[in-house]
């Protein structure tokens, strides 16, 4: 029997005219709209006194079932419980991130496996010709027959942890028996508003190392939470879950950094001196001294830069200590994953790998430990280019090794049978040489654009030509497109590329839709084609001059086309308005995180060039300081710069200019502002909700224009 209500609710009404509040509101705004008042309001908000209370959040997972309408880019076609899911045309822009499957059929086989995860699971650079789901399905069908099992591919490139969580719930609508989750590379540190009160305090006292320690804990908590939540969702439904622990290209991958981020207590100055001495010691092959200095650097930087462990890698390599080498390479990988606003490349940390490994102890969950598998595959060596196309994306060999292990777990979970990996591997499929050739070229481009050196880019280009000589047609047309200033889809070469290969695969090359002067990649290709296409180098040089020489008009070198081609590691810390993996800044100027900034420009031998630089040194304590401008290593100007913007012109004499790509180096005045001031400012801005780079800014460039001195009006 329903009990009578204990109270009644009445809406109160008011006839008081709200117009009377206008003066109050205007005064409130005036008092709130000062810097101090804004800061106070924001702090109170962060403390939870204005609006929502700060504190741990909640997350919910939709449980897929008969009523589920959408899964990823697929929508249920009809109301019937067994209706298929069909790809949604209106989401065409997103299709590239998902499997190219048009229709996901209802479950008909006895068992169903669903693969979820990130671009590694997608088969990045191979897909749609080859991918992990294909490999797994071929192996399983070889064991269980065509009607015994199917594998549904729900992996998505760029997938976040939140999306993964959602997909684990949603995919239950497809009635899987096993879910394979191959993810962890995109589990980047998150800096939400509720973290700011913690982080800004840690920043002030301990610098970026303090912040990193906090964000690492939060990231690890989130991963544990995900594993637990998945168990809560899948366990009662008797759906098994296999985690595949990702691995990283430890052997080949390097992060383009040379400075530490802002450290606590003004330690940057000490760190820089130590780094300089350690590099000198390495050069002198004094590994003991280098190790001592790098160890001290690590104590100061708290594992926030790969510079110090990289020195230790060199020291231990020289000693032949493979275990220590691997350990420090893992530290290199883990060191550059702390910045919530900027990423050099996706990766998984040792701590996150261990958390996934712990899932093996959860009933109904199993783990495929890819780092161990790859290590065994290579006989104990470091994972490198045999296993990886870039930082984390797998070669076909590694994909098959991973899927063999997954297949073995799937069979054990579903049938209780132990099937040896060798037996499973017999059912593996491998992409043909033509596809391997194409993928190799895609890998060359990808590595070049992610700041890797010419040696690794050369390896991939050479492999591409070796496996599929016709790849030369793709290479030359791609470089033709990159070198032109004409928007790429207006280039004849783009039409020709589209005729050579499927449009969806060309997205790997043309997805950014923004061209860049790609001198290193172009040079490597010219080297590789020297035998087959001896005229290519001359053609390339002519095209570079025709398109980019100052004779054809003034060029703004902070534009993406040029700034993306910054050639040496010292400038790779640049982030500017136009860098693709720059999450936060929308500023119309670029910031330098190193003492020297280098830009390429295209000139003609003997022809003078004029440059105009508009810059400032925000941290300058003195009224002014001297900035050096060098072209191809020769000093062309020393100018006086200030804290405020100033513009400077310099003439580059003709005898200093080379045919083709030249280099302008801007050396900033020595750092004068205290690092503590920079740290304080960073913390203040973080409180205002502004994303930061957490690095010392040596200088800022509003524009750097090169033009023909004979035609100044062009500029």
């Amino acid at each position: 029997m329903k009990s009578p209500p204990e109270h009644l609710l009445f809406e109160e009404e008011s006839s008081i005219d709200s117009e009377w509040l206008k003066d109050f509101a205007a005064r409130a705004a005036r008092s709130a709209d000062t810097p101090e008042a804004r800061r106070a309001i924001r702090n109170l908000y962060l403390a939870g006194f204005v609006g929502e209370a700060a504190g741990p959040g909640q997350s919910r997972i939709e449980i897929g079932g008969a009523g589920t309408r959408d899964i990823g880019v697929w929508r249920k076609a009809g109301a019937a419980a067994n209706a298929p899911f069909v790809r949604r045309p209106e989401l065409g822009e997103e299709w590239f991130y998902w499997s190219s499957t048009e229709t996901i059929p209802p479950k008909k086989a006895r068992w169903r496996v669903v693969l979820v995860g990130e671009s590694v699971a997608r088969g990045f650079l191979y897909d749609p010709d080859f991918n992990p789901a294909m490999a797994l399905e071929a192996m399983l069908k070889a064991q269980l027959g065509e009607r015994g099992i199917d594998v549904i591919d729900l992996a998505k490139s760029n997938q976040t942890q939140r999306e993964l969580k959602s997909m684990i719930g949603q995919c239950l609508a497809l009635r899987p028996d096993v879910i394979v989750a191959f993810a962890g590379n995109n589990w980047r540190p998150q800096l939400g508003e509720r973290d700011i009160p913690f982080v800004e305090n840690l920043l002030r006292t301990d610098g970026v190392p303090g912040m990193k320690a906090y964000l690492d804990v939060r990231r690890e908590e989130a991963a544990r939470h995900l594993v637990r939540q998945a168990s809560s969702v899948l366990g009662p439904r008797n759906v098994k879950l296999i985690w595949v622990v990702p691995e990283f290209n430890l052997q080949d991958w390097t992060d383009p950094v040379s400075c530490a981020p802002l450290l606590g207590g003004g330690d940057n100055r000490v760190w820089r001196d130590l780094a300089q001495s350690a590099r000198q010691a390495l050069q002198a092959r004094d590994f003991a001294l280098a190790e001592t200095l790098a160890t001290r650097m690590m104590e100061l930087d708290g594992g926030t830069t790969s510079v110090s462990p990289r020195i230790l890698v060199e020291c231990h390599r020289a000693k032949g200590d493979a275990v220590a080498t691997r350990r420090f390479l893992e530290m290199c990988r883990d060191a550059e994953g702390w910045n919530p606003g900027f990423s050099y490349s996706p990766r998984i940390s040792t701590a996150l790998q261990d958390i996934l490994r712990e899932a093996a102890a959860i009933p109904g969950q199993a783990v495929v430990d890819l780092p161990r598998i790859l290590e065994e595959q290579q006989g104990g060596g470091l994972p490198g280019r045999q296993m990886f196309l870039d930082y984390c994306h797998l070669s076909a060999t590694a994909t098959n090794a991973a899927m063999t292990a997954v297949g073995s777990k799937v069979l054990a979970l579903l049938t209780g049978r132990e099937v040896s990996p060798q037996k499973l591997a017999a059912g593996a499929i491998s992409p043909p040489a033509k596809i391997e050739g194409k993928v190799s070229f895609f890998a060359a481009v990808h590595n070049a654009h992610f700041y890797q050196g010419a040696e690794v880019v050369r390896y991939w280009c050479a492999r591409a030509l070796e496996l599929w000589p016709e790849c030369e047609r793709i290479m030359t047309r791609y470089i033709d497109i990159q070198t032109r200033r004409t928007p790429f889809l207006a280039c004849k070469s783009a039409f020709e590329l589209a005729e050579i290969d499927r449009r969806e695969r060309l997205q790997y090359l043309l997805r950014g839709r923004v061209q860049r002067l790609d001198p290193m990649l172009a040079n490597v290709i010219a080297d590789c084609l020297a035998g087959a296409r001896p005229a290519f180098r001359k053609w390339l040089a002519d095209l570079q001059i025709a398109e980019h020489s100052v004779k054809s008009g003034a060029k703004e070198l902070t534009d993406f086309c040029y700034a993306s081609a910054i050639p040496t590691p010292s400038e790779r810390g640049w982030t500017s308005k136009s860098f693709l993996n720059n999450y936060g800044s929308r500023a119309v100027f670029a910031s330098a995180f190193d003492e020297c900034s280098k830009f390429p420009f295209v000139g003609e031998a003997g022809q003078p060039v004029k440059l105009k630089l508009c810059c400032r040194v925000p941290g300058l304590a003195e009224p002014d300081a001297t900035l050096k401008i060098e072209v191809n290593g020769r000093l062309v100007a020393q100018v006086s710069v200030q804290k405020a913007w100033s513009a400077h012109e310099a003439l580059v004499p003709g005898d200093c200019v080379l045919d083709g790509v030249n280099e302008i180096a801007v050396t900033w005045p020595p750092q004068t502002e205290s690092y503590q001031d920079a740290l304080r400012q960073t913390s203040d801005l973080l409180l205002e909700g502004q994303l930061q780079y957490f690095r010392y800014v040596f200088g800022e460039i509003h524009s750097l224009v090169v033009f023909d001195p004979a035609r100044p009006s062009q500029h």
């Binding site: 206008k22 705004a29 908000y45 032109r484 207006a490 508009c614 405020a644 205002e688 909700g689």
Partner: protein, 589 residues
Amino acid sequence: MGECLNIVGISAGYHDSACCLLRDGEIVAAVQEERFSRIKNGNAFPAAALRYCLGSAGLTIADVDCIAFYEDPTLKLGRQIWMGMLPGLKRDRRESIRSRLLKPPPESEIRRLTGFDGAIEIVDHHLSHAASAYYFSGFDEAAILTIDGVGEWPTTAYGAGSGAEIRRLAQVDFPHSLGFFYSAITGYLGFEVNEGEYKVMGLAPYGRPRYVNQISRLLEDGPGGDYRLNLRYFSFLQQDRMYSDELTGLLGVPPRSYGSELTQDHKDIAHSAQLVLENILLEKVRYLHSKAPSENLCMAGGVALNVVANRRCLSEGPFKRLFVQPAAGDAGSCLGAAAVAHVRRTGARPRQKLMHSAYLGPSNLVHDTQRLLTAAGVKFSDYRQNPSTLVEAIVDKLIQGQVIAWVCGRMEFGPRALGARSILADPRRPEMQDRINALVKQRESFRPFAPAVLEAHAREHFALDHPSPFMLETCQVISPIPLPAITHVDGSARVQTVTAETNPRFAQLLEHFYQRTGCPILLNTSFNLRGEPIVSTVMDAISTFGRSRMDALVLDDFVLEQEDLPELWRDISRKPQRGSHGYAVYTML
């Protein structure tokens, strides 16, 4: 550069972000950010527009003396706080108001994004509007009327300009707003608020004044310049909808859903709302004249884009001359902000007294276009050696009934295409309106296209006794030539008068068309697809042309034929992106 006074004007953060450069009181450049971002009516900080404006004068940020911002954030915050205090406010609305309190103010954002460390002038929103019209009107003195949705508090401002001085005489404050009155009807009729108001205006002539009595109850005329909205019929203060259910009860017709059929009731409502707006505007214009007895009237603000109302204000009101700035909406207020900053710094009004033309945006370099077409290997005609033959060839096509996409010279500032980024056609052909809609515009069939006419011949064809270079006035078509493609159902047209001084190539085209046909008029509509901004670059033009089925594309000295276009070009453009404007409610935050 130091001897010049360089002032950058910025409007941003609400809708129609834009930037301009005023150099020693002369307008050097002005452009909306949407033309670069390709997000229609986008509100993002105009970073690309700023780069263009500085680059067009060979300046860097170090040369900028002052940045002027087009509204006062503190005053606006007061209005937002007041809105947040109203009873019955929905939670998400309150949240969004609170988020304003937590955001860095525009001044900080300008400094952070541009790195600018000089003076920033904050200019009241309606003063920005007023200055954008008055200082560039060519008048030495004028009455000034600015009307929009809302700025800080004011929604309507009455003022007077004399020399360098602008005085405000009176104002009407939020929530009472003629802009919101019209936007509520726009939403009621199923069009996008803050975007579809001109559709209501275009629909009005198809209707009858059957709802005037009811719609008049939405507004209460007050003494002098005052008026009030009858707030029971509006819900924008509390909800994400402009009108309340009581309006439905009052009109007795359910609100039209987006995209559904337009009935006679909808047309009658549009007609009645337009009439009510015109009547009250006329009333207020008379009031303004009583306070500022000038022969000249300047108008700005979104409502000033209602060309039909403008016509009545001029023809039936007490003023003899009217100037409406071509970018009369928020985009154009960056010009006003810059002009006010100029006055504050020099004590004098900007040297450029008359805005002769709206061609203030980027142009495409001929050799870049040639390079692009050559690199593409596409077939094209090159008229660089003899541009007049290009005009002859295009006139041939127009006479044959072809639809021409026309990109020539610097892009227009403001919402109208004025012969720099236009679609052109023969206005004498009855089928042309449907044809253009089918080929490219895909817009409602009731909306008329506008004519461009040689200024010297304008009076022979239109009841217009003065130049109308910015297409911001309507008048009756009196032409002896039937002009079905540009004549609205009520016999009116929104005219642009063209002279060789402001757009020589376009004038030449009209002249040749006149010589061949006796008709000095062309149909002129903006070169864009539905939901997209007007094209700017050659690639924008090619992409839009490729996705339409227009017959030929003119790119300054080059001409492409539709059949010669590579297939890949037809689908190269990004998907149209939805603008930042709200659909159901005016985004008054």
